[in-house]
């Protein structure tokens, strides 16, 4: 998959079939659009091209008085997931207030037609872009007639009775409904980050943990508690137990992610680790004595290993 960071310096290419969207989380609904994109690109034949926005538009346009918007996937994570889906090209459109106020016709003509020679576009059921979100299905269809490209909008995908959406997944993760989030994502929710020096509390208890810092401050950190997890590092995957908690000393409620990798002993400072959350075990709790805490951690480890062997 070719990654295009700056579409303005990209030379006009051969024809393409395009899909457009923020695709936060790249959930099963997004995946179905991309599968369709690939199928139609092969049929054309043309380049299967995905256009995404970075930063997440809601981060840029956010009303500062509302609670901080968070994202399911950082751009680095999104690139990694999309790389596995067999697309030809990924265009990362830098999202700024100026970009947001662009009239959709200009975007379609300058970028999609002149740069990518779009022959067909597939969008999600609720997608809209450009100034005042006026770049919707109706407008695309009108432009399609004028400029000769096909437009299609795919219906939403459901899980049970519910429409799969990034918003619903964020909510599920905040509520600790990891099962629903996993089902809607089509894979475990995961956090990529760097291992940094933390408080090192776990080491004294006999359970050394890594302190994971996500790549983006806007990365959604799920509900506090204990999770059975898998940690990927250096191309291998290890069973682990992850603690997500609120750091009391930081005023804006920054969360800490501490992972105990079972039967693993090595210095990991500065390394990149990916932690997949597999199952929610229990709430965060306070313990009267260190002995009680150690006893509880032992149970958490045993429970995690049991859950991980069946997942």
């Amino acid at each position: 998959m070719q990654i295009i960071w700056n579409i303005h310096t990209f030379p006009p290419s051969d024809s393409s079939v395009v899909s457009l969207g923020t695709f936060d989380g790249v959930h099963r609904g997004h995946q179905s659009i991309l599968t369709e994109l690939k199928r139609r690109a092969e049929r054309a034949p043309a380049h299967a091209t995905m256009i995404t926005f970075e930063p997440h538009p809601q981060l840029v346009l956010q009303d500062p008085t509302r609670p901080q918007q968070e994202v399911l996937t950082t751009i680095e994570e999104k690139i990694e997931i999309l790389s596995g889906l067999g697309l030809d090209r990924l265009v990362i459109a830098h999202f700024s207030p100026a970009f947001a106020s662009m009239v959709p016709d200009r975007f379609v003509i300058d970028i999609l037609l002149n740069k990518l020679h779009m022959r067909e576009i597939i969008i999600g059921h609720d997608h809209a872009f450009g100034k005042g979100r006026s770049g919707n299905l109706a407008l695309l269809q009108k432009l399609g007639e004028d400029h000769g490209f096909a437009v299609d909008s795919l219906p939403p995908l459901k899980y049970g009775e519910e429409i799969i959406s990034s918003t619903r997944i964020r909510q599920a993760l905040q509520e600790g409904d990891l099962e629903l989030a996993t089902q809607m994502l089509g894979r475990p929710y995961s956090i990529n980050g760097l291992v940094m020096h933390g408080a090192g509390r776990g080491t004294g208890l006999g359970f050394p943990t890594i302190n994971l810092k996500p790549y983006s401050q806007y990365k959604l950190v799920p509900r506090p508690g204990i999770y059975a997890s898998r940690s990927r590092l250096g191309g291998r995957s290890y069973d682990s137990v992850t603690y997500i908690g609120q750091r009391p000393t930081f005023p804006d409620g920054e969360r800490v992610i501490e992972t105990y990798i079972i039967d693993f002993n090595a210095q990991l400072y500065g390394q990149e680790v990916n932690v997949e959350l597999i199952a929610y075990i229990r709430e965060d709790a306070r313990f009267a004595t260190a002995t009680a805490l150690i006893e509880q951690i032992k149970q958490d480890v045993a429970k995690s290993m049991e859950l991980l062997s069946s997942h």
């Binding site: 760097l194 810092k213 401050q217 804006d252």
Partner: protein, 203 residues
């Protein structure tokens, strides 16, 4: 490194031109024998680095090896805004070295004082940044290439660039790609040194 080379060449003078932080990688010049005469010239040579900094978090050492000391949410980064901020650092600038650095204050290495927990603030120094190019901006990360005069601390540059962007930051990766005319692509891996020295000796 100097100790390793000294052992390998068995005797004679050995010296290096310019330290490299423990978390960093890249070109380190080690001079042996009569070449040690050139050290004073080589240490003055301009240097080039490729680095990656992360915003919103900082550590006591201003690099990945340190302990987190502050977290501060920053606005989503705009590439143009980052380039604009970077331009302010090009030319002759005043730079306050990091508390964890090898400079001497009152006859003591500053990092030793910092480890003891009472680092004095070092005086600002005049350094020259010849070029600072922003390669990529994604999430809270900035990748850059910088060429600068001797005595420039890239960790301090990262700290100051983050400040201009309204947040805090630290350096997560650093590679020295050049010292004067010596390029990274011509450098030897440390592991290849023993064999290299052996083959030079046999000539």
């Amino acid at each position: 490194m100097v100790r390793l080379v000294k052992k390998l060449v068995a005797g004679g003078k050995v010296g290096h031109a310019g330290t490299l932080d423990p978390f960093a990688e890249g070109v380190l010049l080690v001079c042996t024998g009569s070449e040690t005469r050139n050290i004073s010239v080589l240490v003055d040579a301009p240097k080039e680095y490729r680095g990656r900094m992360r915003l919103g978090v900082t550590t006591d050492t201003l690099d990945i090896s340190g302990v987190i000391t502050e977290e501060k949410r920053c606005a989503p980064l705009d590439r143009e805004q980052v380039c604009e901020a970077a331009r302010r650092f090009v030319g002759e600038v005043e730079q306050v070295p990091p508390s964890f650095s090898a400079i001497h204050i009152g006859g003591q290495r500053l990092y030793k004082l910092a480890r003891a927990g009472a680092p004095p603030t070092p005086a600002a120094r005049r350094v020259v940044i010849h070029n600072l190019e922003v390669l990529a901006v994604a999430d809270n990360r900035i990748d850059f290439v910088v060429s600068c005069s001797k005595g420039t601390y890239i960790r301090a540059l990262a700290r100051d660039l983050a400040l201009v962007l309204g947040t805090v930051g630290f350096l997560s990766h650093l590679t020295r790609t050049r010292i004067g005319a010596y390029l990274l692509q011509d450098a030897l891996e440390v592991t290849a040194l023993p064999q290299y020295i052996e083959s030079e000796r046999c000539r």
